[in-house]
């Protein structure tokens, strides 16, 4: 049984398509990292898993049940850290955990143990209204952990956490996976998922642009290279021959600089094709692609990519960080 199964799911908000024809499967027991820049549709997708938002089209199944018809009982088997939530400011941290225990009807869970796991023991009896963003995040994670859920759905769990807190978060994710839980979590920063995920999916503009294991992604990034060529003169049309080559994923020209993204072993062919088109090459530089750059190439407008016009306006990682911090 799959833990999560989305079949050709589309969500429109008025004229805006937030998620487009999304097919996504998360197998039982895996840690799945759901990546993409802010505004890519990650939270909308997660909100559909929780029945906070209803899909315009398609079906959403969680733990083998249709979310639409399953009712609240399904959430007894799920732990959720939602995005954009607020705490009950007049209730203490401990009260929040106790409320989750009562709600999930799991009387044998010890609130102190959970508070300790998420590092809130000292603040447990303070009103949650005075908590910082990071503490609120820890509190909601604690509520999610109540009742040893089969599936954890965490939306941007590291937002508001310092590097230390983010590390603790990853440790908890791994511990939960070792217990047998499936973990599905979203992030706009590759570095946070790289270390723990079995598989990642990258969402951009409401569509899943790639899905692979971290090893698979790394292999792809190792074999990818960027050629930067200084030439006498070239037009965009001159590059058509290069684009048609096997192993070339994109090419662009800016004045006398031609940039080509290709597999490492396609480099010589790229150069000979350009020479054959009558372009005089004056200088050659090669850059290998890092995992982070590969991630950005799927989601960012500034990279050499044939789809750059479609993804224009997607969020830069710097601004994404700032938004997440709000």
């Amino acid at each position: 049984m799959s833990a999560i199964q989305l079949s050709s799911v589309t969500k429109r908000f008025g004229d805006v398509v937030a998620v487009r024809e999304l097919d996504l499967t998360v197998e039982s027991g895996e840690i799945y990292g759901f990546l993409g820049p802010n505004g890519a549709g990650k939270s909308t997708t997660i909100n559909m898993l929780l029945d906070f938002v209803r899909p315009t089209d398609g079906t959403v199944e969680v733990l083998g049940e249709s979310v639409e018809t399953a009712g609240a009982g399904l959430r007894e088997r799920i732990g959720v850290l939602p995005e954009g939530f607020d705490v009950y400011s007049r209730l203490s941290g401990r009260k929040h955990i106790e409320f989750a225990i009562e709600s999930k009807a799991v009387d044998d869970d010890d609130p102190d143990e959970i508070l300790d796991r998420v590092g809130l023991t000292e603040a447990a009896d303070r009103n949650a209204g005075g908590y910082s963003k990071g503490m609120r995040q820890r509190l909601a994670l604690g509520m999610a952990l109540v009742g040893e859920p089969e599936l954890l759905i965490l939306d941007e769990p590291s937002s508001g956490l310092d590097p230390n807190g983010a590390k603790e978060m990853r440790d908890i994710v791994e511990a939960e996976a070792n217990r047998g839980a499936t973990v599905f979590f979203s992030s706009h920063v590759l570095g946070q998922v790289e270390a723990v995920c079995d598989r990642v999916g990258i969402l951009n503009d409401g569509e899943l642009v790639t899905e692979d294991s971290i090893e698979g992604l790394r292999a792809a990034s190792d074999s990818e290279a960027t050629l930067i060529l200084t030439v006498d003169d070239a037009t965009d049309d001159d590059l058509d021959g290069v684009r048609a080559l096997d192993g070339v994923s994109g090419a662009a020209v800016d004045g006398t600089t031609v940039t080509v993204a290709c597999e490492s072993d396609a480099k010589t062919e790229v150069i000979s094709t350009l020479s054959g088109a009558g372009i005089e090459i004056q200088d050659i530089e090669t850059e290998s692609t890092s995992l982070e750059e590969l991630f950005l190439s799927y989601t960012d407008a500034e990279t050499v990519d044939e789809t750059q016009n479609d993804t224009a306006g997607s969020t830069q990682p710097e601004t994404a960080d700032m938004e997440a911090g709000q």
Partner: protein
């Protein structure tokens, strides 16, 4: 009983806020002030029924619905806009649990303020120059709590249906004016308009008039309180009609949140 868990949390949350203590003090003040103003001449004695009927009906009848609407209009939409509703619905609660849990929790909190606020001064009144009609006093207090709960239910239903906090507030004010100051003149106009019903309508205009009168929770309430003070609650000649009035209040208590829930169910958070 998931709604009960939601209700208990909402009640606890209310107890921790200042409005509950403030309102309790306010009710104690209202009863005490009325007692002071209406205090009998030396040697004479006045029944607490007179006190409640005179002061209570004016102050309580106009203010309790307003207080209930203010206390509850934000119950669902406020949580939806702040995001705490996401935390609530991440747990195994349905949207129905949330709406009915809120009605129960807020009503219980407001009823606590009313019962404590009314009963505390009664003990002092009994020692002073008032004769305490315990049955009527408690009966009246419970009716006030029921009235408050009905308006809480209406406000929570509206709060679940409203698309934004601002609209929820505006609507709550509108509902107050509809039910409290304007209802009588509206129903009077309706009655004038339908004085001569065509034959095929299986209702007499008196029936419609009675329905309009009892259909308003405030008038149903004030009519029931007069029966309580007369010592004829569900016993006198109008017993069946009184029962209808009670049932109509209970109908509001369930129908208003249910109507709000129907819209809330279809909303994206």
């Amino acid at each position: 009983m998931s709604w009960l868990v939601v209700a208990r949390k909402d009640f606890e949350d209310s107890i921790r806020s200042r409005w509950l203590i403030g309102l309790t003090a306010f009710f104690v003040f209202v009863i005490s002030a009325a007692a002071y103003i209406l205090r009998p001449q030396e040697g004479a004695e006045i029944s607490t029924n007179f006190l409640l009927e005179t002061a209570g009906n004016f102050v309580v009848g106009t203010l309790v619905p307003l207080i209930a609407l203010v206390v509850a209009y934000n119950a669902v939409i406020g949580e939806r806009e702040s995001g705490s509703l996401k935390l609530l619905l991440s747990l195994p609660h349905s949207r129905a649990d949330v709406v009915f849990g809120k009605v129960a929790g807020r009503s219980a909190a407001l009823s606590t303020a009313i019962i404590v606020g009314f009963v505390l001064p009664a003990i002092i009144l009994a020692v002073g120059p008032f004769t305490l009609d315990i049955g009527a006093y408690l009966g009246y207090t419970l009716l006030v709590a029921l009235l408050a709960s009905v308006y809480v239910a209406i406000a929570v239903g509206w709060s679940a249906a409203a698309p934004s906090q601002r609209i929820a507030l505006g609507g709550a004010i509108g509902l107050y004016f509809l039910f409290v100051p304007f209802w009588e003149s509206i129903s009077f106009r309706v009655q004038l308009a339908i004085q001569e019903l065509p034959e095929w309508v299986p209702l007499s205009s008196e029936t419609v008039g009675t329905a309009l009168f009892l259909g308003n929770p405030s008038s149903a309430y004030s009519w029931l309180t007069s029966a309580v003070f007369a010592g004829e609650f569900i016993t006198g000649e109008a017993a069946r009609l009184q029962l209808s009035a009670v049932l109509l209040l209970l109908f509001w208590l369930l129908a208003a949140p249910l109507a709000g829930l129907l819209l809330f169910e279809r909303r994206d958070l």
